[in-house]
Subunit: 398 residues, 4 copies
């Protein structure tokens, strides 16, 4: 018999949309990947006892708590997985790291640069003690995205000239969609910019291997008032987020509906970015196109198992954007799953995130994206906000 592998005991704080995705990842990862540690879905934390109990049963956690502070200090917890809204990330993550727990923190890392800096410092300090921290930019681990990064790193597209990145949703186009925590600056930090813009900033920097150096942008709130929802509760499903009955009363939308900005990368490449919840008909359209001196790449999450690749070294007569079905065994993460052509879905990128995190913990190395990566994204977000207010270009690097 094989020796049973050591356990990695997990406490997850928050149990809404992201909590469901992370739970499925913790459950599924060891079934398809050979992990050095066996994750144990030990403890689920939430604010309301009744709701956290129900969630634990649905999502498959052994026990519950409404006291995250003591939870992150418990001896029988190895890792804290933070799935709460952004305003609580810093406090929980810093406490957990201080208590020697590995941390997986949902994105965006924090609601402010100041918080993100504290978190990055805490993570750096923790790393010296062998404690690991990762921020949950899960889309990095869509196989097509991971392949894109590999191709850039291999020089297949040469010097990057252009990045065009869009994250297009439409769930609040209707002005009758009520207010929810995602439309409240106190809770969410920002709107489309922080919620979805953060993803395309991270993806663009990750795939190209370059940081954004400066930005000029605009934030806009097209619908300035919305119905007040009854019984709005923390951390409900984001894509919906507004099916609670409305009261007739209206309240202000305090975050942006859309953010657009130009970016200059450290190499000189030009970027155009657009994050919006007002792209009617686009549901989760994460689109990236990168043009380089030797080739180009294009990705759209609405066809997530595909990467398009143009190789300029090909003869003109047979060159063309290739629709690579990223389901071959040689593609990142794919061999663990199904035969060629049997595509993966949204949740699989969370499973891959868990796999890489568990392996990093076991190997004693820092997983990526690090909190420093999350901080860099936060700086870009802040620069865009400032730029929108001042109508000037803003630098994003310290």
């Amino acid at each position: 018999m094989t020796t049973p592998r050591p356990t990695l005991s997990v406490a997850m704080i928050g149990h809404a949309f992201m909590g469901a995705a992370h739970s499925q990842a913790w459950r599924t990862a060891p079934r398809f990947f050979d992990l050095p540690l066996q994750p144990r879905m030990h403890l689920l934390g939430g604010r309301d006892e009744q709701r956290v109990t129900a969630a634990a049963e649905t999502l498959g956690w052994e026990s519950t708590t409404t006291d995250w502070k003591s939870a992150v200090e418990r001896d029988d917890i190895d890792l804290v997985d933070i799935c709460t809204p952004g305003d609580s990330h810093a406090e929980i993550a810093i406490a957990a790291l201080a208590a020697g727990k590995h941390v997986l923190c949902e994105k965006p890392l924090a609601n402010t640069v100041a918080e993100a800096e504290q978190m990055a410092a805490a993570a750096a300090s923790a790393a010296e003690r062998g404690v690991r921290a990762m921020v949950g930019f899960a889309y990095r681990r869509v196989p097509a995205v991971a392949l894109a990064r590999e191709l850039v790193a291999q020089g297949r597209i040469g010097t990057v000239r252009h990045v065009r990145a869009q994250y297009l949703q439409d769930w609040i186009v209707d002005p009758e969609v009520p207010l929810s925590w995602r439309l409240d600056k106190e809770r969410a930090g920002s709107g489309a910019l922080g919620d979805i813009g953060a993803h395309i900033i991270d993806l663009a920097q990750h795939i190209t291997g370059e940081n954004i150096a400066e930005v000029s942008g605009v934030l806009e709130t097209f619908v300035k008032e919305r119905p007040v929802a009854q019984g709005d509760t923390s951390g409900t499903l984001g894509g919906g987020g507004g099916d609670e009955g409305a009261t007739g009363e209206k309240g202000p939308v305090t975050v942006d509906d859309a953010a657009v900005f130009l970016a200059r990368f450290t190499s000189g490449a030009l970027g155009t970015f657009e994050a919006t919840r007002f792209a009617t008909g686009r549901k989760n359209g994460i689109r990236l196109e990168i043009n380089g001196s030797r080739g180009s790449l294009a990705f759209d999450f609405e066809d997530m198992n595909v990467l398009e690749f143009f190789d300029a070294s090909e003869a003109d007569e047979t060159a063309g954007f290739r629709r690579i079905l990223v389901t071959e065994p040689g593609h990142p993460y794919v061999a663990a799953w199904w035969p060629a052509g049997h595509g993966l879905g949204y949740e699989h990128c969370f499973t891959h995130q868990v796999v890489d995190l568990v392996r990093a913990v076991a190997d004693g190395v820092d997983p990526t994206p690090t909190f420093a990566d999350g901080l860099q994204v936060q700086r870009v977000l802040a620069a865009v906000e400032t730029s929108s207010l001042t109508r000037t270009w803003q630098e994003t690097l310290t």
Copy 2:
């Protein structure tokens, strides 16, 4: 507290590609869907003790057996899930039904019409005793496919005129791919026809709600000899199926590489069908296009979250095939998962299959596809084989 829901204790026989897919389904279904019975992954059956033990650990089954015969009679088993090659389906299914166990049987139902008839008879008899049987044409439960059926049933495309159906793979284009059980008529029953052709026959009949009445077809084996694989074992992953080292020896391929046939549906609609493992570059291209008097539908599994729909009642100036992203809450099965635009993958159709099966068992109704549906597919398969030998049209209905 809520009363704990009753348990449905499952024994699964076979643990290769299909076994992995079914395991993920049994594990995941109760996490996302509110099931009346709680599935218990109780017992895994296989021929080799060492391999079944390893598989049970990987796939998450509590115990194992190498004796399926006694397994299907155990008192602590409620349902038998058959994931073996087709040559053993009849024996296992009939025994399980006789023992009063519900049965989920992978497709094709059997390797011969005679076996399938016995199975359908056994299922009919079992149904009278409240014992349920379902054949695993899982692609029916891809949300886009389920939506297609709904639209046809609602009359949105009118009278069906044309069905064109293709199942395109390319995993044995290379003549050096070695022999495996899937290329052995004794074990597999047939090649592309039974393995993948069965799916498009079922899907075409399911979506249109019509049976195929007669066929004229051709089977072809392009590569007639292949290297003999060392250590070929039962039920290995189908899409691969040939990663065992070759010996230098060659053996005959006894099944078809490709099958093409014309079909006439009961309503008079015309069908063209094509199942092949020689469509270079197509990995799992299940394509269906259905033209009716009022509209058309098109589906391609390589973009599985999408259904294309043409509505001829639309004004000519704005009519066009719509790319429906089948990820809205109102779409079949989707509400249980993620927000709009966050697509599902291959394995989810197995989860939906489990959901519908468990609900049917709890509700005391027959799940679909029934064994009678599986028998009808078997008759079409047999008619195509006969047609290929006799070069004549063959009827498929009794």
Copy 3:
């Protein structure tokens, strides 16, 4: 000054849809291509004096005639371009060739094999006297199609295994579309089969470089009676063909609405063919997919400037169907037109046809497709019709 190039004096018989396309080609070809002979749009023939006069003014012909017989014998005519319905092709073409005129004859070559044989014999005999004959399968000269043929000829897709070819239209889905000459067997010879099926038969044989050896097929007329059109006239625009007011009376449709057939090519490759006017939502969907041992090609006329190409020699990780925009200067016919990316339209394939025809005449070589090529297509058409009646496989080669 350059010596003026010699003139090629053209008489065109027929002035409906095809007449308009051919006229544009004769007018445009010398403006973009360097032709050895200067076409002169000399004489337009039609049955009705008033209508042919109006057509000549619109289409740009110098003079008119209602007597094609004397026209094809006139000394001042070098080439006869036949754009009439199929029932008159043989008589006109044979007379013109006998009179020593080069002939361009619209497809299908004739309405029967017997006629086509006579025409091919006449063409062979004329060729000995330096008189040229070409049948107008114009789609061969869409640049993407011409590129497809080149890639097959270069061995880029290896041995052909599968051809799937569809010509999908929907202009008579509505049962109230009235009768027209295209729905009358006497005039049109056949329906979807001869009108559009002929094109995909020719394209499949042309691109693969292989003939169809045998077929098994079905013809179907879904709508058996239609309103009688008032004032139906010869050779009206095919795609419409029914905007004449209806009388309330109904008459029988004597041709097929759809034809589907299986084909075996001389090399053993398998083909599935489908020609239909009942593919709701498909307007001019000429689709070809060819799978070979080393690669695949796919084309759809509804995106006519594109050829898809899968190259199996590419590494699995970066292989994918390439969307080749066939607008590069190195692509067939393209250099004469616009910069890269500035696509061509339907009519350009007729211009290319004129270019190749004029050059062949000047060079004293036989243009392709020859009347023998047209005869081979006719034999396939006849075999499909016979097969549909006899429900047997039919050979197509003599």
Copy 4:
């Protein structure tokens, strides 16, 4: 007999890429459209006698001149069509208008706002005398673009929220592509911005019916020096523009390779614009996506016969971007051409431009786009350039 229609005698100045496109339009328009005036391709102007003579023969003009000044004053000329580089537009157009000739002037209207203002003033003054002026933003008359404008005007997409517009080419990605007039600020005015950015600015304003109010942008020249071409000549084909042999010497590129900018429309809608010659693999990718409160539109010139349309009033379950094949008789300009599904090409938009111009002249109304429209585009171009220098937002309206 019908009375012969009056003649419209045309002098065209310039005979390179645009001259070829305009010639084909003048020749073709009266063959497919019923025009109130019969265009006469009377006089072709160019700088070099030998070259203009050869061009006139190729393009089909009756006579030639090397003296545009006297040409625009000749009594036998009714309309002057200006196809020269931008630095000569103002002088020629103003002279022609002053001489009472109608003017069609290629875009961009001029190289500077000052020139454009003079031209717009001249056009306004001429209009009072019944003399017409039109600027050649031909892409407005691609049927899919014209349909897009109609749908916006009908309110089908509601209030516009987002415009994303890209014009992507790649013909100078290779740093060895030599200098040509298009890379010379003196001659071309600007690079990607004026050459192709002008088109998407015009299209965005035209389709939405709104002007751009302010911009923030960046111009970039990625390759700052290029080989000096031997024998560079005026007005050579733009897309190529560099096939003259290189000398070994290098010279500076004085225009932008790429321009990106954010825009705010008068209504508050947000725009992102990108014009580049460095989008490897994109040949003539004019892409527009417009999101409104009730729907969305998307267009890509690389599939120019298609408009995508999302109608948010559709039920969620069947909503999706429709691929409208803009080849129906009811679509703008289409009825004059071929049956449904038989697509048009690049050059057809020039034919439509001639049709609308000739009809406006005959009807005594101002054709669009007017010189005032051209001036508005020029102001946006200038604002982007200023913004790039000052790194500030710039207003574009006076």
